[in-house]
Amino acid sequence: MVAFIRRVAYLAAGAVLTLLVAEGIARILPVQSALPLRDVSADNPIRRLQPNSTNLYSRDWDLRGIQRSTANNEGYINPNDYLSKQSRNAPLVAVIGDSFVASLMLQYEETFFGRLQHDLGQHRAVYSFGMDGSNAAEYLASASFVRERFAPDTLIVVITAQNFRNSVWGHAAAIPDLNFFKIGESGVSLYRAPRKSNALRRVFNQSALARYIYFNLKLDIGTMFAAPRSLQAPVAKAQTSTMPADLERNAVHYFLDKLPAASGLSRDHIVLIFDGDRARLYGAPSLGDPMFDSIKREAAEDRYRIVDLEKAFAADWQAHRHPFDWYPEEYHWNGYAHAIVERELLRLLREGA
């Protein structure tokens, strides 16, 4: 028995020592930081970052694409502080979106809203309200927040493949403080996911090794034990949705119906940017939302203004074969894609001017 305990103690000592060394190494490396979120409360009705907090982005196991950024006075990744509607003279273009708008992996100057601000000059302010993990329901809540605080003249909403599929409560990961569509017999309503105790998360965020495993390596026990991996061309891990199509349709109807009221703008002042299925362009399995075509059609019938990146990306790919992201490792838009988004957006805005 003594020998057994001694051996277990040796094993534990070896494991703990190694963990400490690994933690020490991770601390000197540019491991991705955890987003310094601000709790949602009566004062802060929407999920965003701590004002003026700093963030470090790196991706993959070898810590590529390092970007450091700072949140502005409103807790959004943007080098410019935002002025409220009372203290601002220029009309405002507000951009709402998820991590595609937060763009932690890019310099501000590379983003489509950074480019747009540059091209529009002082005549208009362009504020970005991008938040990692946001979904279509959160966009509605964000639109209300933006309306009340900043009163934009134009609203741009970036819609990506996961935005509707991750928006229905009970069919998506329950991200604390995030809004979801709750679909019941009485209809659709917005529902904010309850906050959980942050104690464990705070401890977790303190460990660089834990952040490396979770954020850089994107540990996913489920897919680790999935079917055999391809021996051919590398393919991004597929994102699957378990949400029934009729629920997604309900969410889409609700979103398109409520967005004007939430934003305080008529539909012709709202631009919906729909991402394209870039993986398919590369000849890889689709990473798009199968319902995107019908959502776009419905939005167009509702007289929203639309930027269809499916067409823009396809045409550009045909001509230049330049990737729009870092597929298969990182599927967010790169600077090249952001330039195309801005070009398409400017074209649409000028058509309407």
């Binding site: 070896g14 495993i213 390596l217 540990l219």
Partner: protein, 491 residues
């Protein structure tokens, strides 16, 4: 199933290991049969469609070896061997070289014939079995146990990408009763080999791979290539292939040691070689051994005069190149190494003739010799890695200044600031200066042997604790990658 995958490390390996030693206490043949069955399952995990092909190949070759062993008449023995070897090579030719042969015969570009799916490990299990057949013919091998033969061919640590094993070193271990009892020393040594291999592959080889891929991708797309880019990409691939393949071999050796079975070593710091003859004694050693014993010697070796010896050397390397893949790039890679070997042997012959003794170079001479050898190997790797002869030619041309000598944008201070520089320099420095896996494990084992029992126990269990953290961490890193496969899976 990849050695670096979670399903392998956390499910397949523990189950196979535990059941093997549990059955081994009761019945050794049943334990060997279990290991063979588990190996076939391992093979079928990717694509079960090729399991019948493997099974047919094993049954046919075992039956033929029995026929050859039983035959008394030399002509009949020779005929049986010829039929068996022709069938094995025919199978390989059909699955691996069909498109290449078609492109040669019909003069169509290889790419136009579409992508050929090659059954995993076919080159390795074909060679293993041909060696067995030839040795049976030479009366150097005889295996009455079908279970041991199946295990010999399918044994999962070597099945997909070697090391190419020889029956002489495997069959006695399968018959040895002590193999079927777990030993802490073997487990420790195996775990060390496995961790070193895992680190080589997951961290070093995969870390340097993007820099090699960038060069060969650009060349494949017809982009212009500069002097610095061509050298950095070629050196990156030189590091990548060594750490990828030697990492795989270390993992295979380590896994096998967990089961108490020693596989032959496959690498011995090849980039430290001072000449190309030495390189081939240190690089993919089990393939070199196979080519020497079953091809070079069969062609006549050095028994038919110097001219024929050089021709045999060249042909052996040419066919060795073709074994790696069905394409002109591999043929050129083999031809280059064949030429290198001819020049090296010729140089030695001239030196011996001039001085009447083998050459003994000075430190400067040895350094120059190492440098020439290393650069020759780097140039040859370009053909090995490139998709087409055209892109390989473009890269080699750029390496020799045909793309210009402009290095103004590539000052040392600029280079030092890039991740690329360090990702290439550090692995190459490790390959050139650090002790290799077997040296590290041997030193640790020697320390353990000399230590007291208490210290031995402490070292064994503390290191197992460390391994219990490092292995899952490396597995999670490997699983995070979009393309975690080994280079030699293509061959």
């Amino acid at each position: 199933m990849l050695f670096t995958s979670a399903i392998f490390v956390f499910a397949y390996l523990p189950v196979t290991f535990a059941v093997f030693f549990i059955i081994g206490r009761i019945n050794r043949v049943a334990a060997a049969a279990w290991l063979a069955a588990a190996s076939i399952f391992f093979y079928g995990w990717w694509d079960y469609h090729y399991v019948p092909l493997l099974a047919v190949s094993i049954v046919f070759n075992f039956a033929m070896s029995r026929q050859i062993a039983a035959a008394q008449e030399p002509t009949r023995r020779k005929l049986l061997l010829a039929v068996a070897v022709a069938a094995a090579l025919g199978l390989l030719a059909y699955f691996k070289y069909k498109n290449f042969l078609l492109s040669v015969v019909t003069d169509q570009p290889l790419a136009a014939l579409g992508h050929l799916v090659i059954p995993l490990g076919i080159s390795f299990y074909t060679f293993t079995q041909i060696a067995f057949l030839v040795d049976t013919y030479r009366r150097e091998a005889h295996e009455p146990s079908f279970v041991h033969y199946v295990l010999f061919v399918t044994y999962f640590p070597h099945l997909i990408a070697g090391p190419i094993i020889h029956h002489k070193e495997m069959m006695p271990q399968f018959r040895d009763p002590s193999t079927y009892s777990p030993k802490l020393s073997d487990f420790n040594e195996g775990a060390m080999f496995f961790v070193i291999g895992l680190f080589k592959k997951v961290v070093i080889a995969d870390g340097v791979a993007p820099f090699a891929d960038a060069l060969f991708g650009a060349a494949g797309n017809g982009h212009p290539i500069g002097l610095a880019a061509s050298w950095s990409g070629a050196l990156a691939y030189t590091a990548q292939i060594y750490f990828d393949f030697s990492g795989y071999s270390d993992m295979a050796i380590g896994l096998s040691l967990l089961f108490g079975i020693r596989l032959p070593l496959n690498f011995a710091s090849p980039y430290q070689s001072a000449n190309i003859i030495e390189f081939w004694r240190r690089w993919h050693m089990t393939l070199s051994r196979f080519l020497r014993d079953y091809l070079y010697i069969s062609l006549g070796g050095n028994r038919k005069g110097p001219a024929r010896r050089y021709l045999n050397l060249f042909l052996t390397m040419l066919l060795g190149g073709l074994w790696h893949g069905a394409g002109w790039t591999f043929v050129i890679w083999g031809a280059l190494h064949g030429t290198y070997l001819m020049v090296n042997h010729g140089w030695h012959a001239l030196s011996r003739a001039a001085r009447n003794r083998p050459p003994k170079p000075s430190y400067v001479g040895r350094f120059a010799s190492w440098l020439v050898t290393f650069l020759a190997v780097v140039v040859a790797w370009v053909f090995f890695r490139a998709d087409t002869v055209t892109s390989a030619g473009a890269i080699v041309g750029a390496m020799f200044g045909f793309g210009g000598f402009d290095l103004t944008a590539h000052t040392l201070s600029n280079a030092l600031a890039t991740a690329e520089f360090w990702w290439i320099v550090i692995p190459l420095a490790l390959a050139l200066l650090a002790p290799n896996s077997q040296d590290i494990v041997a030193r640790a084992s020697a320390y353990l042997r000399a230590a007291s029992a208490a210290r031995r126990e402490a070292f064994a269990f503390v290191s197992l604790g460390a391994i219990a953290v490092i292995v899952p961490l490396c597995v999670v890193i490997a699983e995070s990658k979009a393309s975690p496969v080994f280079i030699y899976f293509n061959f």
